[in-house]
């Protein structure tokens, strides 16, 4: 939303937006007041419209609805099409349809400009505690666009799957995508990078660290995420099994 509206029209945004590690618009968010998702805070700004995400506190949303505030709720998009729809919906909610369309066009152009690598490489996403991404999620779309086949859908049914390193190795994945910054604060997620089997697999397995902020939000960052994946998996010196 920060990209679509002028700063003086924005009464306040979530405090999480300022966290550079997890937000793509941290710089923009610095220019406007922040709130912590509390009904009182939100009401104090007397907004014309309130935008709530799927992760906003349910109780807060209920209170705001009862207070008669115009509330627009957004879901988590699972495909590029849904992402485009979300952008358009948000733009309509704040009366900036023009800018919304422009953003969608930019994203489409950005994606079109990227190569479509063939043949698809086999990839697995590794999150902390070995969880992988479920079938039919936005990450999978990004992976597919980047020429990566999500092995998780082959390993089993839908729903949450756990992928121990052994499966990564034995499924003969070409790419392992880690959710996190390789050199950020210590986390179990990136601790997997240290496992000697990664080195032992050597050129057989390419490891890519994909910062979550690039694919947990809807916006131009989706292009960046796709571009990063393509660059890291098909760039110079990549083994194509």
């Amino acid at each position: 939303m920060l990209r679509l509206a002028d700063a003086d029209r924005v009464a306040s945004v979530s405090w999480l937006s300022r966290d550079a590690a997890n937000s793509n618009v941290a710089a923009l968010a610095d220019r406007v007041p922040v709130n912590h998702g509390l009904a009182e805070e939100v009401m104090s700004h007397r907004p014309d419209v309130v935008l709530a995400g799927a992760w906003s506190s349910r109780t807060t949303v209920e209170i705001l609805k009862r207070l008669g505030v115009k509330l627009v709720e957004f879901d988590v998009p699972r495909t590029f099409d849904e992402a485009r729809a979300e952008i358009r919906k948000l733009a309509a909610a704040i009366g900036e349809q023009e800018r919304g369309e422009a953003m969608v066009r930019d994203i489409d152009a950005g994606l079109a400009a990227l190569p479509s690598p063939k043949p698809p490489l086999r990839a697995l996403v590794m999150q902390p505690n070995g969880f992988t991404v479920e079938k039919g999620s936005l990450v999978e779309e990004i992976m597919n666009r980047a020429g990566l086949e999500n092995l998780a859908s082959r390993v089993g049914g839908g729903g949450y799957l756990q992928v121990p390193l052994e499966a990564v190795a034995l499924q003969q994945a070409d790419v392992m995508i880690l959710n996190g910054e390789a050199y950020g604060a210590p986390s179990l997620a990136t601790a997997a990078l240290e496992h000697p089997i990664i080195k032992a697999l050597g050129r057989r397995l390419r490891v890519v660290a994909l910062p979550p902020k690039l694919w947990t939000c809807v916006g131009p960052n989706l292009v960046e995420a796709t571009r990063l994946l393509i660059a890291q998996t098909r760039g110079a010196g990549t083994a194509a099994r």
């Binding site: 949450y160 052994e166 190795a169 604060a185 210590p186 179990l188 997997a192 000697p196």
Partner: protein
Amino acid sequence: MTAASVSPVARAEATRHAWLVVGLSLIVACALVGSLFVGYAGLDVTQAIADALRGAQTLPAIVLVELRLPRALLGCFVGFSLGLAGAAMQGFLRNPLAEPGVVGVSGAAALGAVIAFYSGLSTLVPLALPFGAIAGAIFAALLLFALVGRGAGTMTVILAGVAINSFAAALTSLALNLSPNGFSALEIVYWLMGSLVDRSLPQVWLATPFMLAGWILLLTAAPALDALSLGEPTARSLGFDMARLRVRLVVGAALAVGASVAVSGAIGFVGLVAPHVLRPFVGHRPGRLLFVSGLGGAALLLLADIAARLLPIRPELKLGVITAMVGAPFLFHLVYRLRREA
């Protein structure tokens, strides 16, 4: 009664004990090998072993050596540490309910590990992780012995354990709250439940020396624990220094349990079940129970880890959950029995 007529009885007993040790060792060995054969996808283990011995870097060999072997070794060593520490604590506190998880030593070790990890210390200095866990364990053990005093009753032991566990859990939450990594609280929840998934050989080399040191300290306390069955004054009159014994047990248990927790998270109840099941087989002698209990713990943990992989439940059950499912009813049964005897 001549000397000659004394020996056969004693010799029979020594033989029985030897059979017990051999039998348990065999179970552990089988479980160890079994653990190598169980995994997430088909793997020709015999081929992998042959490849590994040849030095060939084939995929099966890599998976066997880098993933399955550390997991099996840690299952064995961690299980041994927990079984041994449990038996040692029970011998010292003269109470069959004491074990690292129940009395809070594991929880405090987990706290130490969490602090070492999320503060970034262990990334700079890998040794910081086991050190942190061991420090946490020492603190808890000292606190425990201070609260419980000499040969305390069941109530005191359990209450002290509850207090220490609560405190450790609170501090762990605090540490996670303050951690620079915003997702730490989420990802650590599973680690705290205890697991051996995706452990590596470097972790084995890191933890094993500490565990070994702990084992030696605990196993050599066997005669003192035997003497302690008659109470502290008598044990002292038999030439055993109680203060030194306490230090030996605190440090030994902290080393064994701390190093274990540093690599596997907090796994409880192994130190409760193994000694309890095996105690009748050693005539209730606390000294003899130590080594045997270690073997029992190793067998228990290896089997639990194999079960975790074989059970069709996904996500995979955490080791700590499996041991708790077996151990908690056990604890209830023990408490009930002790109440009846009281």
